[in-house]
């Protein structure tokens, strides 16, 4: 269970060789040809094996969100370099990808169930099937009893649980999460990190997780990619060699956790001074 490879059921031979996500010398300039060209991402390369959980950390404005947006193919402007998601170039509405944002963005006129099913709905999953599956996931995130509640009746943490259910209900092999717990209080955050770990172990997705919280990055990830201040360059790609399954709470008392923390912090500081 601790080992990634061992945890993968029926890992098809050869599948391990093909990365789920691949960035090759990815460079993103906004407003090319105008007076205000912004170099947002500068020659970033990394890749994720299927089922891998990688965090992206770096100062504000270093291009983390831009990288996620590039993977979804939603940006109006084209990057330089090569991006691949499951071997394919990004395309808008790619069903292989589920996206989760810092704000839960629940639709207030839909119940928790309706919200959890929303992603499946726009992807054309039949009503019966999507409601069954959405309820299943609501139960997994601990919202089984709140399926018919409207978002106004849910706490922040519950709303973000619902957003987690909506994201995982899509059954997309790739998850992109942009500071999904950034707006939560520390206590709720720890709980939801555990929920996320449980879901991830059960569903085995490839995850790119953007965060400003080093502890969160270490606790959740197989690797942490550190970026410099704008223009975002890669400073380091740090494997996190802590045994799984991890409990985010228990890690706080593990000395290796604190060593990683100090190491990553040093790298970040160096990246800020870069400019």
């Amino acid at each position: 269970m601790n080992d990634m490879a061992a945890a993968r059921p029926n890992g098809a031979p050869g599948a391990a060789a093909a990365p789920a996500i691949e960035l090759n010398d990815l460079t993103m300039r906004f407003g090319v040809g105008t007076a205000s060209t912004v170099l947002a991402v500068d020659r970033v390369s990394f890749s994720l094996a299927p089922g891998e959980f990688v965090s992206l950390i770096g100062p504000s404005g270093c291009g983390k969100t831009t990288i996620l947006n590039l993977l979804t193919g939603l940006l109006a402007e084209e990057p330089e370099g090569d991006v691949r998601v499951l071997g394919k170039p990004p395309s808008a509405g790619n069903p292989d990808i589920a996206y989760m944002l810092a704000r839960d963005s629940l639709l207030p006129w839909r119940s928790a169930l309706g919200n959890a099913a929303f992603g499946m709905e726009v992807r054309g999953v039949p009503k019966k099937e999507r409601e069954r599956h959405a309820l299943e996931l609501l139960k997994e995130v601990g919202l089984g009893d709140f399926a018919d509640k409207y978002p106004k009746a849910l706490s922040h943490g519950m709303r973000q649980r619902c957003a987690l259910a909506r994201t995982f209900a899509l059954d997309s092999p790739v998850l992109l999460m942009d500071e999904p717990f950034g707006a939560l209080d520390a206590q709720t955050k720890l709980t939801l990190e555990d929920v996320l770990m449980r879901l991830w172990s059960a569903h085995r997705k490839t995850v790119v997780f953007v965060t400003h919280d080093l502890a969160e990055a270490i606790a959740l990830s197989d690797r942490v990619v550190v970026m410099s201040a704008r223009p975002g360059r890669m400073i380091a790609d740090v494997p996190i060699d802590l045994p799984r399954p991890r409990s985010v709470r228990k890690l706080q008392s593990d000395h290796r956790f604190h060593e990683y923390y100090a190491h990553l912090w040093g790298l970040l500081e160096q990246g800020v001074g870069d400019e």
Binding site: A98, V122, P151
Partner: protein, 251 residues
């Protein structure tokens, strides 16, 4: 329960006291009934109009009919035009100055024109009311659609929603509360438009009766009709609140 009961009781006591003072002051000669009417006279007028002679039912019917038709026609047209504007922003931009100009016109001043065009009957009343309802509902529809939460749009797009789905499952539902408040206002203004046009010239309707009573200085009748109209407006508001609570439980 206790609280609402006490509040209701308070209102009842106040109204009874108000009516009693009015009646007594009028009988004592402190309040001239030729200018203010008197409660007993007002009740008598209504009793006569609705129960004995029953002539008011007919006028009430015409006023409500015109207001209802104008409300539905005006709102449906406005919501449809609003949707077209949302889907074709260029059309919206092209039409906007003309709409603003039309909306700036004092619609009641158009009533004589409408009387000329559509005759003394119910048609001209409907036209005046529609000219009010349409713009109110149109501007709330446009505002509602523009006010859609951009997070919801980003998320829907990221989840792979098609523009059609985004419009019907995100933009439109999010606009419903704003459209609804426009409808509520539209209904009140529809009644206002009809009565105002009836005051000018009409064959039937409460406004026409009111104009007649005013010209004959029947203050009890005038007061009775004013209360009747206020009561109509109040019922509309209460009904719309009730519908809104049912329709927008998520709010």
């Amino acid at each position: 329960m206790n609280k609402t009961f006490r509040l209701g009781l308070g209102h009842a006591v106040f109204i009874v006291a108000f009516v009693a003072v009015w009646e007594l002051a009028s009988r004592a000669g402190m309040l001239d009934p030729t200018f203010f009417g008197r409660p007993s006279g007002i009740v008598a007028y209504l009793w006569n109009g609705f129960v004995v002679e029953r002539n008011l039912w007919n006028d009430l019917f015409y006023t409500i009919l015109a207001a209802t038709i104008a409300f539905w026609a005006g709102s449906i047209a406005a919501v449809l035009v609003g949707l077209v504007f949302a889907m074709l922003p260029r059309v919206h931009k092209a039409c906007e100055p003309y709409l603003t100009l039309l909306n700036a016109m004092p619609r009641i001043a158009l009533a004589p024109l409408f009387l000329l065009w559509f005759g003394l009957g119910v048609g001209s009343k409907i036209a005046v009311a529609i000219s009010l309802v349409f713009f109110i509902v149109l501007s709330s529809t446009v505002a509602g659609i523009k006010g859609v939460n951009s997070d919801h749009l980003v998320l829907s797009r990221a989840l792979g929603a098609k523009p059609r789905d985004i419009f019907f499952k995100v933009t439109l539902p999010s606009a419903v509360p704003v459209i609804f408040s426009g409808l509520r206002l539209g209904l009140v203004y529809s009644l206002l438009g009809v009565v105002a046009a009836e005051l000018l010239a009409a064959e039937h309707g409460l406004g026409q009766v009111l104009a007649y009573l005013q010209s004959t200085f029947d203050m009890n009748g005038v007061m009775a009709l004013l209360f009747l109209l206020a009561f109509l407006g109040l019922s509309i508001t209460v009904a719309m609140n009730w519908i809104e609570r049912r329709l927008l439980v998520w709010q």
